[in-house]
């Protein structure tokens, strides 16, 4: 009786296994097909930028194959990297992004901790409210913001418009809500018993935050940092509106305003500038991704 059952079960199981692996193979093939497709789609623009950046203006406008460099030159790079103007844009962008990341973290981390853990009246509504503010597009906000800054400038006499540092106050309106939202999620995923254990061990709320929550939620913190940096670095509308003098411009605005003169596009330098501008976020991603280890909380509680 039992032998019969085994004989019956044997082949059925094999067939099932085979069909499973066949499904898997096809799923993998389709995944690779689409991955390659998307990789090509997203890599063509930067490759085209790289090719163009290595060409002289004459070669760019010549009617040759645009996908090949016949006379490679680094002149675009040399010109940009020795131009005080370009270095100034780079400096402004770096300063703003770094300060914005710091400001964002200083606000977002305690805010997220309070909203995720210190249950107070209306904390849940407030948490949703924080996220909702992120949904308001910056193209709607810049006019009232401009007006506000103008009024403050008139009243206090402190120059705010056309100064790069004013962006340090404005960018967090974009970064803080989203970073807080990310951090709330990460903090909420930390088991409640962990802060209770810390509380019993004698930690204050601040010590619980700095010595338990921040180290445990490091992947979330890094994700938020990357987000804040990328948003500040790539922001175009606000700096375009709030800064006008050449020495106050940031990289994205600087490249488009100085390298496009009327209807003359200095394509070689525009592409070079864009490539160089894309480098810092890439470096930051590469550097921080090493620390972006998922599953850091493994072992805190029952695994």
């Amino acid at each position: 009786m039992s032998t019969l059952a085994i004989d019956k079960a044997g082949p059925t199981r094999k067939v099932k296994l085979r069909s499973m692996s066949r499904d898997r193979t096809w799923a993998l093939r389709w995944s690779y097909f689409f991955l390659v497709l998307f990789a090509i789609f997203f890599l063509i623009p930067p490759i085209y930028m790289l090719i163009t950046s290595l060409k002289s203006s004459a070669e760019i406008s010549a009617a040759t194959n645009p996908w090949w460099v016949f006379h490679p030159t680094l002149s675009n790079y040399v010109e940009l990297l020795t131009s005080n103007q370009f270095l100034r844009f780079f400096w402004n962008s770096s300063m703003i992004s770094i300060v914005v990341v710091i400001v964002t973290m200083l606000i977002s981390i305690p805010a997220a901790f309070a909203l995720a853990r210190m249950k107070f009246w209306g904390s849940a509504t407030l948490a949703t409210g924080v996220f909702l503010t992120y949904l308001i597009p910056d193209s709607l906000l810049f006019i009232p913001l401009f007006k506000m800054l103008a009024v403050v400038q008139d009243i206090t006499g402190i120059t705010l418009l056309n100064r790069w540092y004013v962006l340090v106050f404005i960018y967090p309106t974009l970064t803080v809500p989203f970073c807080t939202w990310i951090m709330i999620g990460y903090f909420a995923s930390i088991p409640k018993e962990l802060d209770e254990a810390a509380l019993i061990d004698g930690a204050s709320w601040l010590q619980t935050l700095t010595r338990i929550f921040i180290p445990v939620a490091l992947p979330g913190l890094i994700a938020a940092t990357i987000f804040a940096f990328t948003v500040s670095w790539a922001q175009f509308l606000y700096p375009l509106v709030f800064t006008t003098s050449i020495d106050q411009l940031v990289l994205p605005v600087g490249i488009t305003t100085t390298l496009i003169k009327g209807d003359v596009f200095n394509w070689g330098q525009i592409m070079t500038g864009a490539l160089l501008g894309a480098a810092p976020p890439l470096v930051i991603y590469a550097f921080l991704m090493d620390y972006y280890i998922a599953g850091l909380t493994a072992g805190a509680t029952k695994g």
Binding site: P191, E193, E196, A197, I200, D201, G202, T297, A300, T301
Partner: protein, 366 residues
């Protein structure tokens, strides 16, 4: 070390009363286990002692001082959680010393205490590992070590063994008992497992629906339960409850179970229950071990009856037999060699010297 006292402690969440006026005195060095089904308020009670939950009304005292408004860190307690709650980014040693480091203890003393606790718990080799490199049992030891190094007045355990597999649970249960014998710290231990409660506790507190049903030593609870809830909760398999009535038959007090079955009560029991009204609906409480196979020589007070078994469960050292008495499912424990078989008739003996009589409506043991 200290005694703990709860005076009319109430915990209310909005309109739900989770703990309904608890009075409890725990003496120094005592190992108290709070046991009950989920939602009975045992964990809430523990968390109120820890200071993790505010109390709605009443007083909690640790070492004679009212601690109602004292934050957890100043209550000098240590807690072991069900899911261990180890700090994942710290090593075992760092986990254990975290509390001491926060209080700025000298480094030498911290090291000495951690080493001593690690030795006590047999985790000296694991001291530099991170929690994720440890097994469940090892993590639980580290969690206990974290409590021990603090040398607190009271240990609080919140279902510490529930996440472990059955074998490890038995092992860790013995470990916990050993540790308590060595450090002698007053301990409050919460569990839903009555076996854990019976094996660990000096005294067991049985809770149900936010109230204390009974406080007593494991043996008291087992042999002299105060209510139907305690009688049914303590002991595995659970006590049988058979609807019955008292009746006088030829000058003797009998307990009638069914139309066919009516047993004379042993003299001691008859004297105890003699004054009860004969019409009242009662329950006969009898533990499975007092329902055994019939012998040739039966003690006085042991009565026999015939039944047909529904199911038998051979456990090795005994066989559990299940049958019905007018629709009431009953469990008995017989010798494995008594010949109990599924669906077979069997003569069983009921030891009425160990019976309980309960009021069916109030659930009180009479």
């Amino acid at each position: 070390m200290a005694e703990v006292a709860l005076r009319k402690v109430i915990k209310r969440y909005d309109d739900v009363e989770a703990v309904r006026g608890i009075d409890l005195d725990i003496s120094d060095h005592e190992f108290i286990v709070l046991v009950g089904p989920s939602g009975c308020g045992k964990s809430t009670t523990l968390r109120m002692i820890a200071g993790l939950e505010d109390i709605t009304d009443g007083d909690i005292m640790i070492g004679g001082d009212v601690v109602n408004d004292v934050p957890p860190k100043d209550r000098d307690i240590a807690m072991v959680f069900q899911n261990y709650a180890l700090y994942p980014h710290m090593t075992v040693a760092e986990n254990m010393s975290f509390g001491l480091r926060l209080k700025h203890y000298p480094k030498a003393e911290i090291k000495a205490r951690v080493t001593e606790a690690a030795r006590l718990l047999d985790i000296t080799d694991l001291i530099d590992r991170k929690p994720k490199q440890l097994s469940g049992g090892q993590r639980q030891r580290v969690a206990m070590g974290r409590a021990i190094v603090r040398n607190p007045k009271v240990f609080l355990f919140d279902e510490p063994l529930s996440n472990l597999d059955a074998k490890l649970r038995v092992q860790m249960r013995i470990e916990i008992k050993k540790v308590h014998q060595k450090v002698r710290t007053t301990t409050v231990y919460v569990t839903h497992d009555q076996v854990e409660a019976m094996t660990l506790a000096d005294r067991v507190v049985v809770m149900n629906k936010g109230r204390i049903e009974q406080i007593g030593t494991p043996n008291e609870l087992y042999h002299k339960p105060a209510t139907r809830f305690v009688a049914g909760f303590i002991g595995s398999p659970a006590m049988n409850f058979i609807p019955c009535r008292l009746e006088d038959v030829g000058g003797k007090l009998n307990v009638r179970l069914t139309d066919r079955i009516s047993f004379p009560l042993p003299p001691a029991r008859a004297a105890r229950y003699g004054a009860l009204p004969r019409t009242e609906n009662l329950l006969l409480g009898i533990r499975p071990e007092h329902l055994t196979e019939s012998h040739a020589h039966l003690e006085p007070g042991v009565e026999t009856f015939d039944t047909v078994l529904d199911v038998t469960e051979p456990m090795g050292m005994e066989t559990l037999v299940y049958f019905g008495l007018e629709g009431t499912p009953i469990c008995g424990r017989v010798d494995p060699n008594a010949g109990a078989k599924d669906g077979a008739p069997m003569r069983l003996a009921m030891d009425l010297n160990n019976m309980h009589l309960l009021n069916e409506t109030t659930g009180a043991v009479l």
